[in-house]
Each structure stands twice: as structure tokens, then as C-alpha cells.
Symmetry: C2
């Protein structure tokens, strides 16, 4: 059996939001069969609810979250983190800034997701990006998809403002049923407009879609799951080296 002190430590910079952070940790447990506690990963999670709102910051309507994020990364490193995952898509807007200040490597969820889209579909299919206003405004996914030559569509501004954003905040308030139905509807619109698959570009989305057992999940790239799988693979590789 592996010794306690031989495990690589995965750091999770959470709080964005708190529910998505818990969902991410559950995914880490579900990925592979474990017979006992000791088969799982060693994870330290900084799930601080007080990170300033990323959406407001991107729109210039609220404080920057960077000082809080840098503090969180520092605490994770002090707690022994060997690599850091951020289960929030929007926060990757600051990925380069945070990576510059961090002595440990930070997974890039956007790159991991776009790589997986390309691996599965090449450039022959059209992908939809289901994302928050803030994430779309930064162009995070649009740029990464363009660079890979992958065609994409998004919801229109009114759909995002009137339906997607209230649904995301409903998940943060633990109101999953209505949010799930609305997000399912938004996803179906994207498929009806010619998308072959959908990137769930916000980690609150799969929580609500799972709560209503949405059929569109089968056609989605679930960014929470993609990041979790990369973390488990990293932990396995670390141990095998």
C-alpha cells in the first residue's frame, strides 16, 4: 500500500462557486473504481466563498478577484499542493496572471477542453459554447476554438442575459430544478441551430442539467469532468514515475 507521505497533493482553487467545487471533488472520486479510501487521491481544497464575483469584475462593475485568487493559491502551496486545478471556466481569464505568480503548475481547463473537442470531432463539426456573459466577453473559448480551426456558435445576448445568467445564479442559490429546465432549453436551441455538441463552459451548468437528468448531457463536453479526469491522470502518472 502506498505510504501517506508518497501521495502527490492536488490543490483545488475553489469557491467559484462553492457548489461547483464540491461537484468537482465528487467527480474525482467517481472516475475510477476504488476498493478502499486509500485508492483515492490526496486533495487539498481552498473553497473560499468570498472571492469577488468574476462576472462583475470582467464587466468592470466589481472588484478584481486577483488578490483573493493569489492568496488562495498561496494557501494551497503552503498546504503542500504539487499542482493546482481551478474548477471554474471564467476564472481562466486570469490563468496567465495567476500562473506567473505561482511556483506550481496550474491546469488549464480551457485548453484541456478544446483539445478534447479536437480529438473527438476534429474540425469537421460545429460546437456550441454554453457560457456566462463574463466568459463570453473574455473570448476565452472563442479564441481557443478559432486557433484550432473549430467552428462554433453561442447563444445570443438576450438568451444569455435573460435565461442563462439567472439560471447560473439559481444554481449558486441551490435552486436546481428550474435552472436545469431552462439550461436544457437553451442547449436544445443550440443543437437546433446546427451544433453537433455543446461545451458546458461554466461549472455550475452540469449540476443543474444533472438535477433534471437532461438528455443534452450526452452531447456535451463537461468541463468539470474533463478537468477531473486530467487531475486523476496526473496523480496516476506522478505515482508511476
Amino acid at each position: 500500500m502506498r505510504d501517506y507521505f508518497d501521495y502527490p497533493i492536488l490543490g483545488v482553487l475553489g469557491g467559484m462557486g462553492p457548489a461547483a467545487t464540491v461537484d468537482f471533488q465528487q467527480r474525482l472520486l467517481n472516475i475510477r473504481a476504488a476498493e478502499k479510501d486509500q485508492d483515492h487521491l490526496a486533495v487539498v481544497t481552498w473553497n473560499h466563498a468570498g472571492v469577488p464575483d468574476r462576472q462583475l469584475a470582467i464587466q468592470g462593475l466589481g472588484a478584481s478577484p486577483v488578490a483573493a485568487l493569489q492568496h488562495g493559491i498561496q494557501q494551497l502551496i503552503q498546504a503542500g499542493a504539487d499542482k493546482i486545478a481551478m474548477p471554474c471556466n471564467t476564472v481562466h481569464y486570469w490563468h496567465a496572471t495567476l500562473q506567473q505568480q505561482s511556483t506550481v503548475d496550474i491546469f488549464n481547463m480551457i485548453d484541456l477542453t478544446v483539445q478534447q473537442v479536437k480529438q473527438q470531432h476534429g474540425t469537421s463539426q460545429k460546437v456550441a459554447v454554453l457560457a456566462t456573459c463574463g466568459a463570453l466577453q473574455t473570448g476565452l473559448y472563442q479564441h481557443a476554438l478559432q486557433q484550432q480551426g473549430i467552428d462554433f456558435i453561442c447563444n445570443d445576448a438576450a438568451e444569455i442575459e435573460d435565461i442563462l445568467m439567472p439560471a447560473v445564479y439559481a444554481v449558486k442559490a441551490n435552486q436546481l430544478q428550474q435552472a436545469g429546465e431552462q439550461l436544457h432549453d437553451l442547449g436544445q436551441r443550440l443543437l437546433a441551430r446546427g451544433a453537433d455538441s455543446i461545451i458546458l463552459a461554466c461549472t455550475e451548468l452540469p449540476i443543474a442539467l444533472a438535477a433534471v437528468e437532461s438528455s443534452i448531457l450526452a452531447q456535451c463536453f463537461d468541463t468539470t469532468q474533463i478537468l477531473a479526469e486530467a487531475c486523476v491522470a496526473w496523480s496516476d502518472d506522478y505515482y508511476n514515475c
Copy 2:
């Protein structure tokens, strides 16, 4: 709005098991209505799967977990924890040892639970303790209930060995359905033997019972929930002081 640096930090010493640690974090989110991320707690969780098996240690069949536990507490303190919760009943066997070495206070889940039993039922009712072999062997709950003059019963040795322990390890392996049915059956036996309520003295138990929507949950003292409520109350008090 509260400033990021004004939140008290709850430390969670997890890994016992990893699924119970995630369940505990979800409870922290569900306890009170939140409208936005920032309404939740600031939590740092040390969910290290490699803590040596507590059951084996108590039975003298495996390594002591104390060095690993002390290390986990140290990492949580370095990450800024102001108070520590351990969402595992059995590990409270070492509570005094760990508290002695820790510069921050550690919640006592056993005391919190027995206090709640006494508050709700006084000493007029009989409570059952649904617990692992290791927890029962330490007498953790039996002593605390005796001290409060509360009458109690437990499953017999064969039930624990043949049914409860395999069910607990099944939860650790994420096999919830069968475990839930078996635990429901064990709980019903305790009620049939005259118990008015049941202490779920292992944090894996409510996960399996919830998975099968067991009717006995309504008659249970859920130790995960009791600890989570104490943590949320502590965070509220800390902020109000």
C-alpha cells in the same frame, strides 16, 4: 458585502473517507439559503485518501493514523484554518491526542451528537448506535451516552461483522445501492428491538441510506449534519462577534 479577508476559515480534516468528506462539504452548502457564492463559508479541506485505515489501527491490525492526522492538521493550520472539523466518527478516538498537539480548536462530533440526543429526547428514550466495529470497540459513543444517563443499544457482533462493515467498505468503493438496503435493514432491526432513534455513528452511513431514500433517516441523528450545522453556527458567530 463581507471582504474576502474577513471570513473565518473552517478547516476540514477529511479523507475518512473521501466520499464522506465531500458529503460533509455539500451539507455545509445546503444548511442555509444563499443567494450568491459569497454567502457561503470559507473552507479549506484536507481530503487525503492515504490516512491509514482507522478500523485496522484500533484492532491492532494496521499502522496508527496519528502521524498522518497530525500532518493533516498542520497543513490546515498553515493554510489558515481557525477551527477544524473531522467528519469521521471513529477518528474521534484520537480527538484528545490531536487536540493536545493542535494550536486551533477541533470540533468534537461525538459530544455535539450526544448533546443533541439529550436536547431532543432527554433521558426518557432509548437510542441505538449504528457504528463500525472500530468505533464500538473504542466505546466512544457508549461512554458519552452513559455519562449523560441515556439508555442505548447496538447491533450484535455478527451483524456488525457480516453486514455493517461490508456495507461501509462498499460506500468507500462507491457501491451505494446494496449498502443502503443492508444498512436500512440493520437500522430497522434496531428500531424493532425498542430503539426510538438511531445515531448514524459513521459518516459513510447517511450516504448509502440517502441513495436508497431509506425511511429510517427520519428517525436518525445524522452526525455529518450535526457537525455541519455546528460549523455554520460557528462561522456565523465568528462573524457576528
